[in-house]
Each structure stands twice: as structure tokens, then as C-alpha cells.
Amino acid sequence: MTKRRIIGAVSFALVASLVAASCGGDSGSDGGGDGEPKKGGTIRILSSGEQIAHLDPQRNYTGTDLAFAGSTMHRSLTSYKYEAGDAGSEIEGDLATDTGTVSNEGKTWSFTLRDGITFEDGSAITCADVAYGVSRSFATDTITDGPSYAVTYIDVEDYPGPYKATAEQQAAYDKAVACEGNTITFNLKNPVADFNYTTTLLTFSPVPKASDTGEKYDMSPVSSGPYKIESYEIGKALVLVRNENWNEDSDPLRKAYPDSIIYEFGLEEATIDERMIADVGDDQFAVAEGIQPENLQTIFEGDEALKSRAIDYYDPYVSYTNLNNERLSCYEVRKAIYLAIDRDALRKAGGGPYTGDYADGFVKPALALDYAQSTMPEGLNEDGTANVEAAKAAVAEAETKCPDVVKLAQDGMNFYYPDTPVWQKALAIWQSNMEAIGFSIKPEAVEPSNYWPTVMNPETEYDIVRGGWAPDWANASTVIPELFTTGGGFNLTRNSKDPDYAEFEGLVNEARVNLDRVAQGKQWQELNQYVVDRLWALPGTFLKSQSIWGSKVGNTFQWGPFGAFCFGNLYVK
């Protein structure tokens, strides 16, 4: 269940653009020799979730959900190509005829809509529908959970969204997002060189104003893609059927092979694996993301037929451990902790090599320009096992340098973890590892759904908190600043009082504005090393995920940008 575990944990970060092929993985293992894709049949998706987090396009925001809703129901201005490997990370016009025109030094972007694009009731999709859809993002009290790019980028102040806007506020928005015939123009506050990547988000999908039911739109959004909702019952299933009013000629991307798609919710994880392994009846037409660790051996080391229906690939996520640098304010203590952790045992608890590779930083090799191998702290065992001797030496060193911090670590470090079986096992390993060097762990179990709100609360006195992140962009500017500067959205290291922090932030700001992409990459590499040298957080794993599909499903490649199936283009063999 690597995938389900990770997604549940780090849904924070969105995977928007990432070069998948350089990750390795055997994404080419499928297809070939099974004949041409053909139309017809029903594809099933087996899920342990109770629902799709959000089907409302402006609220939809995680890898699998974006890949699913985008490829079946919601068209956006631009889209990633529906292809495996590198090509899948390139963009193409979707509702728009091309990938947009930029002017005004990156501050104005316009897109021209295609002819023949329609909603599921047959009415034409107009520029106003797209503008209205985007405007919903601003109603942050109703349209929750969605990406905030539109709000951040678009040049309009204090616009509360269409539900509460006064006439003047609405007029200001209409100026910032202007319609001229079938051309929509976005006026941005600051230059955004790759805004056309942003427009792949479903934030930029059209919504017909007359059908907008606000909060309730999530259950019955109007389709602009090849499928529409036939029924949607949380905890049971979402059934999509063909949208007869979708015009194939207007859509260069979606192939829409199956006649219907059934998303089954609320299944026990063990049951999902068993059904997929058994491959009987309708399950031959099913796909499932994530495999339980206890079944990995059966699937990947068993018979070839089974192995050929599964994939083991690098997803866009990096896992790591945040330390509270205000309390653990001594490098030697942090180093002692890092050296004492048995990363090998933690990895075994999560499914062995299928969990991923030991990370040497926070930027995945997939971000080729921004990644360089880091120099890890001296004494860190390459095989992932604990180096108790070196850790004890670090403790001894710390005793003289910062006895207070050592005492804190010995008295008990507050370890906040989501109260799930996987983390309970991880906790047991941490406890035993820390004990080996005389440190101790004070476990703080947090209700899983409440985990991030709890640890993000500045008043929570934690010492150790988990972390997981995927870049929003194929640029480490969506990683390093997010995780380690005070302005970052996911900085849990509390490193602002570190003597080196001011210097670090200065370097980050320099890197941010560097327009020479290769030189900028070098800067990110150095900043990654900068953090590793200080161990504000402890690198964990470059994560992998596993997925499995039935014997009669084709086009099962993993779509790079999302780390998910390209759902809309699956077909029945």
C-alpha cells in the first residue's frame, strides 16, 4: 500500500510537472503485442478511499484525482500529453488551440478556445465559462482544498469569489481575466514564465454558472470531457458513462476507449490486492493503485504472468523526517539521531526495496537539472543500518558542546506520528534505535486526519515530525524554499533561529530570481547540500509506488506528472 500510504500522508504537495523517465522504473513494461486499442467495455478502478477527494474541478488537487478527473470529465486550457515516459510531461493545448501566448514580459497570457467544445448538455463552452470556473477558486471558504495558484497569480485584489462579490469587485476580476470573443486573457501580478503549466490544473476548467451549486457542486459537476456521471455514491461507487455531447474532433488528447468507468470505493486494502491477484470476472478489467507490503513478494517474485500485470516505479515523492531545530538546536545531536536510525529496518517494515531508495537529500534525481549527489554526514552507513558507534561518538561530542540539548534528547523527544499500523511499527523501530544511544522517544499519537493540522500548528511542541514532498513543478524552486524557508508552505523544521538561516535565505532568494536555468540548477544543488550539511531535516527515502491491473486492461503506463494511471486512456483488451 505504498501509494495509498504516501498519498494519504503527503497530499500536501502536488505533482504538476516531473520528468518520469529519468526515474528509471520499468514504465515500458506494458503494451506491445496485445493488438490495437479498441472502444467498448467497462474499466473498473478499485479503491480503499470512500470517495474522490474532490470531483469539483476547482477543488481537485492530488496526483491520482487530477489524472482521473482530468482524463475523463474535466478539460482544462492546457494538458500534459497522454503518453508514457518523457513525452507525458510535455504540454499541449486542450480546450485552448495551443499552449498559450505570452506577452507583457510574462505578465499577460492569452489562450484561444477551440471550436466545437461543449458541456454535457450540448451547450458550447465559452470564454465566460472558463473565466467563471477560475473565479470560483477565489471563494476559498466554499471552494476549499484546491490549488491557490489562480489566487496568487491573477492581478486582482480582495476578490472574494463569485458568490459574495460586489459589482465593483466582479468588474475588477473581469478586467484581470478578460474575454474577447473566444480568447481568454489572464493579467498576472508578476511575470510567470511557465503559466501554461499552471493552466493544466483543473482550476482552469470551465463551469457553467447556471449549474454551479457551490459546496454541493462536488457531487454533480458538469462534464466537459468524454464521460459524465451516471451515479455517484460516496462509500460505494462512481459510475461514469459516455458523454454523447463530447466532440471527439475538438479533443486531441482523450481517446475515450471504454463505454463506462466504475470507480469502486470503500474496499478493504487486503481485498483489493486479492481481487487483483485472482483476476477473475470483472476484475480482469480493473486497475488498482498501491500494493500492500505483505503482498509485494507474491506479486513481484512470483509467477511471470502476475508480475507482468504490475509495475514498480519511482513516484514523485521524497520522504524525510523534520527535526525541531529550535529545541534540537545542536548539530551533533541531530547527527547522532540520524546515524542511530536503522533506515534498513524502517524500509523493511514498509516493504523492503519496494519502498524506495535511501535519499541523499530532498530533491529527487528526476529533477535532473537540480539534482546532484550529496555528501552525506560522516559515519552514515550506506547499507542503511544504524551506526551506533559513530552515533555515540557524536553524542559524546555534543555532551561537551551542548549538554542541555543532549539532556532534552535523553529525557524524551516528542515524536508526533499518525496513529496507523504502519507508523506504529515505525515508532517501535525509532524507540529501539534511540534507546541504543541513550536517547528516548515520547510518542504522541495523532488521529490521522488531524495529523497535519496538529503539527502545522506553531504551538505544538514537537521534536520529530514526518515529512513527505513532491515538487509542484519541474524546478527545485518548488522544493527547497517550500521546505526550508520561513515563507515556505511546508517548513516544519523551525530553523529560523539557526545561526546560518539568514545566509541560507539570502542564497535561496538569489537562486529564485536566476533566469539562467542551468546556473539556477547548480544553486539548488548547493542549497540541497547546505541543508544536508546542517541536518535541519533527515533525508529518508526516494519513494517508489506499485500498481497492478487486470489481464484485460491496456495502456496501463504510469503517467509521469501524476504518478498515476492515465485513466481516461485505459482500454479493454
Binding site: 486479492e274 507490503p293 503482498n295 513478494q297 517474485e301 536503522d342 543500518t385 496513529d419 511499527k425 529501539s432
Partner: protein, 332 residues
């Protein structure tokens, strides 16, 4: 059963004991009957064995050189599954090792028995004591007291107890911690025991109340009252001894129910915190490995079944032994 907080059975109390209160049977007679029941003797032996083994868990583990917390990564293969057949059973690890961590299963089973038996015994003791006191009180005083207690019982019964137990685990554990109960497992154990008693006493009290109501009208009570016996004497010397049979049956039934409840909470991630072992934690964990490590799946389950079976046989036997009419079977 008297209070198994699972999907079923929450309302069942053992009404059948209603008739077993007639007359007071000499203790020796009961003991004689009990000893004649070979099944019961075996069952008593099993229960005793469990208790002793649980009490001596640290000693046994020390002798065998195993620990419930020590990680044995080497005993696992690359996938984190036990290396070797039958869940990694070996000379060092008699019952194999736990997948994922490599902890010794025998050691965890022994230590887990302590938690599970503790929850079972303390929970039962608390529930029964509360239930008997309130039940006797209501039944003996009757009238307004009985009416008030009756309404409180109605209110308690009206809650879907299992849902509440789950929903309130975290907030109440935190509250207990803030009240000074040691953090972590002591607080969770206290919560489980308290919540079992909160919802469980009603089932005992209902039976006891009914018994008391009918007892206090019996001739022998009338007689002692007429001969000037005080309330204390009547309750302690006349009524309580006659409640033994039903109470023992309730105990034998609720104990396994509480062990099951603890394990269900653990299955839902609300039971003992790591690295502590309990049978519940083990049951919940092992069920995932039905394919990869079936040995692990059956070990905690079997241990639990044997204990409960022993308790049931024991309860039945005690009940039969205390039943003065047991030897007068006239039909069948």
C-alpha cells in the same frame, strides 16, 4: 453476553440464571460436584496456566533469551517477511518472528497475555462490582431509588456504545493524561477499563436487580426479617450468597468479551501503543499476513480461543455446581 462491545450481543444478559437462586447449597457440595467434572478441572488448569505464564512473562523470556521489543532485522527477508518456513520458527524463536520488525512472537504472546488478561480481569471486576452494588441497591430499596436507577440504565443503554467507545478514545485518553494518569498505555488501559465499566455495569445490574427483587419476597428472607435481622445482614448474608451463580456466569462470559473489545480497538488503531504487545495488537496485525505468513495469523487467535473456551467451560461448570437442582434432572 453480558457486555461484549462488538456488533452483536450487547443486549444479551443471561436470564437463564433466574431460577438458579432457589435455596442455598452448601459450599462443600458444590465443590464436590465441581471436582467430579473433569472438563472443568482441565479448564481450570488452563486458566491457571495462562495466569501463571502471564505473571512470569519476564522470567520466562529471560530464561529463553527472548524479548518482545528487540528487533531482529536479520530474521527477515528483503520484503520484511520472516525468513524461513512457518513464519520463521527456529531454535531461537519458537513461534517465529513478527513480519516487518522481526520481534519474537512467543515473547510478544507472553507479554500480550498480561495486557489482555489485565483488561479482562480488571474490566470484569469493576463492571461486576458496580453492577452488583447498584443492582442489589435498586432491587432491595425498590420504589423511587429503583425508578431513578432504572432511568439511568435506560439512558446508558440508549447509546450505541461501541461507536462512542471508538469516537471518544482519543479525547478521553488525553483527558485522563491531563488528570495525572501516566501518559501512553496506562492512560489507554485506564480508558478501556473505565469505558467498559461505564457501559457494562447495566447488564449486570439488570440481572442482579431482578434476582434481588424476587429474593427479597422469598420466605427465608421474610423469616430473617421477622426474626429481627438488619438490612446489612439480609444483604450480605442472605441475598449476596444467592447471587453467586448468576454473577459467576456473567463473569465467565464478559471476560472474553472484554479481551475481544480490546483487540477490536487495537485493530482500529485505538488499542495499546507501540511497542507494547497485546493479543489485540497481534490479532489486528496478523490478519494482514493471511497469505504471506499464515503461521502468524493462527498463533494469537488460537491462544485466545483456548483461553475463552476454558473460561466458558469453567463458568458452566461452576454454575452447574452451584445449581442445587443439578442432580435432579427428570427429563431428557
Amino acid at each position: 453476553m453480558s457486555a461484549t462491545f462488538s456488533d452483536t450481543g450487547s443486549f444479551v444478559d443471561d436470564v437463564s440464571v433466574a431460577a438458579s437462586i432457589e435455596g442455598k447449597s452448601p459450599r462443600q457440595l458444590a465443590w464436590m460436584r465441581f471436582r467430579r467434572d473433569r472438563f472443568a478441572m482441565v479448564a481450570a488448569g488452563v486458566v491457571l496456566f495462562y495466569v501463571v505464564v502471564a505473571a512470569l512473562a519476564p522470567v520466562i523470556c529471560a530464561v529463553l533469551g527472548i524479548s518482545p521489543y528487540e528487533l531482529n532485522s536479520d530474521a527477515l527477508n528483503d520484503f520484511g517477511l520472516p525468513d524461513g518456513p512457518f513464519g520463521g520458527i527456529s531454535r531461537e524463536h519458537w513461534l517465529g518472528v513478527e513480519p516487518g520488525t522481526g520481534r519474537d512472537i512467543l515473547a510478544r504472546l507472553l507479554y500480550g497475555a498480561r495486557v489482555s488478561l489485565l483488561v479482562g480481569f480488571v474490566g470484569t471486576l469493576l463492571t461486576t462490582t458496580l453492577g452488583v452494588i447498584i443492582g442489589v441497591f435498586a432491587g432491595y430499596r425498590r420504589g423511587r431509588v429503583d425508578a431513578v436507577i432504572g432511568r439511568v440504565m435506560d439512558l446508558t443503554l440508549a447509546f450505541p456504545s461501541f461507536l462512542l467507545i471508538i469516537a471518544l478514545t482519543r479525547p478521553f485518553t488525553q483527558r485522563l493524561e491531563s488528570l495525572g494518569v501516566p501518559e501512553g498505555n496506562p492512560a489507554r488501559l485506564t480508558y478501556i477499563v473505565l469505558v467498559l465499566a461505564t457501559f457494562g455495569w447495566v447488564y449486570v445490574a439488570r440481572v442482579v436487580r431482578g434476582q434481588t427483587l424476587s429474593l427479597r419476597e422469598r420466605e427465608f428472607i421474610e423469616a430473617s426479617r421477622a426474626s429481627g435481622a438488619g438490612t446489612g445482614h439480609i444483604i450480605f448474608k442472605q441475598i449476596l450468597p444467592n447471587l453467586w451463580a448468576p454473577v459467576i456466569v456473567i463473569v465467565s462470559l464478559s471476560l472474553p468479551g472484554y479481551v475481544a473489545t480490546e483487540s477490536t480497538l487495537s485493530f482500529l488503531g485505538l488499542g495499546m501503543l507501540p511497542p507494547a504487545a497485546s493479543w489485540g495488537v497481534m490479532l489486528g496485525d496478523s490478519i494482514k499476513y493471511y497469505r504471506a505468513d499464515p503461521t502468524y495469523l493462527f498463533i494469537p487467535g488460537t491462544a485466545l480461543i483456548i483461553l475463552v473456551l476454558a473460561f466458558n467451560i469453567l463458568g458452566d461448570a461452576v454454575r452447574d455446581a452451584l445449581d442445587p437442582k443439578a442432580d435432579r434432572q427428570s427429563i431428557s
